[in-house]
Symmetry: C2
DNA sequence: CTGAAAGCGCTTACAG
DNA sequence: CTGAAAGCGCTTACAG
């Protein structure tokens, strides 16, 4: 494997010139630069990662701490891991994966051994021991998601509260006054995930502010659990004409099946919004209006915020990504016959 | 951050003694070892990762190349990434994640820069450019999954062919002579995933060898696609009394729903096996006999094979993990009324 | 059982 | 615009 001396020899320059030519940290003569490029290409030279870490100030590796536990919804989670990894690559960073079984120990290990330049925290809980550890660790970090206590942290996420509000606004604009919310299974709220709480709180607050009748139901396990939750909504809101779903794909699919079975037609009898969904709702039947949860949005910016911390001070703060509403025709103005269950 | 000199000074020894004490590569006096341990603990010392890579022969990092593309079934895939990461940690290895958009370029990059000591290939296709690249790269590697051409590779995976055979054997032992297989959607076979082909081929060969009537149907999209596939099976095998499902959870769930809708009771009217499933079939109604696909099995051994290559020559070979059959009561002896559709 | 020292392959002041 | 050299923090023969 060629090293920097081989390149320098082949190009007829010193190793420092090779190093500067590759890093671009000082200007190099046109002729010289060409010879170096040619030598690098011919020899297939890549700087040795260990030497680069040791001599330089950067390792060019970020740690991504992701629980990946059984409770997480895999497709959404994988999208975030993927988005972070791809975003990091655009900054010439590789990603080291730290899993739950080693969450805090792993962070301490990679920090103390200077293996990584920064940390991305994924799937943060409302009260998360990893965020506590970040204060003690001498490394920049970005949290994707908003824990309850954000002091001293750089956090970014979709604005779930605003997404709930936006969903309701759209329904209210069309004249809906009785609106239900189908949420995640109860255990999702219990285990302390941050975003379902934020969405639900946003829904309740917006319903109050908009003075609409509202109810929230959380589905139990399987299609039967979804059916029970829909029953609950129609019980509490016999005149329900609008439904906001903030839950994973299998539950939304079950809900649509169940509504169809009951002869409730969307949007004629019920206007529906799929909120903060990381999957494609355009292939549902019918296609649903959606506020998409785009992993890349938060992750690209999150990685950017991490890279910024490497070169300058970034004040701890929370950044919220504005939700976008995609109209697919699943909201209409309710008619006198709407809402019959 | 404390370095090895700080530890040596605190313990009153030379840095080489500290290094040897930590690596265990030569014996250290009882007294000395204690003083060094104490100093390490007091100072919170961790060897600098870059220095360790540069001076030593190992980086203590493995690359995991995982497509993570839209077509992969996320829950199963995530389980494998997690299992590899955890297995690597037991050997004091961290895992660097390489994604599809950079599959071969990433492998070349980490190999040439000596960032990693070895490579784990996940979700290998029958014809995969990554396996071709492995031959050119001067790094040990293990492939989880069996591509068509395994020459020069160390591969490990569940024995999908044997799993298909075992499923049929169980059904045949109970007296079934007309057995259908519900597979993955056609695009899964088309895109070249390795294991669905192996299972289907195993199913066909075993059906021939056991001289049972058999048919294979692949579901289209959604519940309607599953329904059509079941129709196809009952058309080709009007007397079908046994069903082997080798597909992901949503499809199996749909199939069970559809069978229930038709009044086909399991196992009374149809004996069912869920084969090579990475999800829990004990919560299905009814619970299904299953040959589980356990990510940890292949990954623990796969990482072990990679670690072995670091210290000695390992001949290229294919290792197959023997499938286990879990009986949950979804296979019974067919009665004269069984199989009525 | 332990130490002094070379060397891994870079980056980056320092110097011109 | 370019070069000579120190130094990053380890590991590992070499020596005793």
């Amino acid at each position: 494997m060629a090293n920097i001396h081989d390149v320098a020899r082949a190009a007829g320059v010193s190793i420092s010139t090779v190093s500067y030519a590759l890093s671009g940290k000082r200007s190099i003569g046109e002729e010289t630069r060409k010879r170096i490029s040619a030598a690098v290409r011919d020899l297939g030279y890549r700087p040795n990662a260990g030497a680069r870490m040791l001599a330089g100030t950067k390792t060019h590796i970020f740690a991504v701490t992701a629980p990946l536990h059984a409770e997480t919804y895999a497709p959404a989670h994988m999208a975030f891991v993927l988005a972070v990894t791809q975003a990091a690559r655009t900054h010439d960073y590789d990603v080291l994966l730290l899993t739950e079984d080693e969450a805090t120990a792993g962070l301490q290990r990679v920090a103390a051994s200077r293996l990584v330049d920064g940390i991305i925290v994924l799937d943060v809980a409302r009260d998360d021991e990893r965020t506590r550890l970040l204060h003690e660790i001498d490394l920049p970090s970005t949290v994707i998601g908003i824990p309850d206590d954000t002091e001293g942290l750089v956090c970014i996420d979709l604005d779930f509260r605003r997404a709930a509000e936006l969903s309701l606004e759209r329904l209210v604009e069309h004249g809906h006054r009785s609106i239900g919310m189908l949420g995640h299974p109860p255990r999702v709220y219990e285990r302390g995930s941050n975003f379902p709480h934020r969405f639900r709180a946003g829904f309740r607050d917006a319903a109050d502010a908009l003075a609409v009748r509202s109810a929230v139901a959380l589905p139990g396990h399987g299609p039967a659990g979804v059916r029970a939750a829909l029953n609950e909504l129609y019980e509490q809101l016999p005149d329900m004409t609008g439904l906001v779903m903030n839950c994973e794909e299998p539950i939304q699919t079950s809900a649509l099946d169940e509504l169809a079975d009951r002869g409730i037609e969307i949007p004629r009898d019920l206007s529906v919004v799929s909120a903060c969904s990381s999957f494609d709702t355009s292939r549902f039947s019918p296609p649903l209006d959606v506020i998409p949860l785009v992993a890349a949005d938060s992750c690209v910016r999150g990685v950017e915020l991490l890279v910024e911390q490497l070169v300058s001070d970034v004040e701890p703060h929370v950044e919220l990504v504005a939700p976008q509403f995609l109209d697919r025709g699943s909201i209409v103005t309710p008619t006198p016959t709407s809402g019959r269950n």
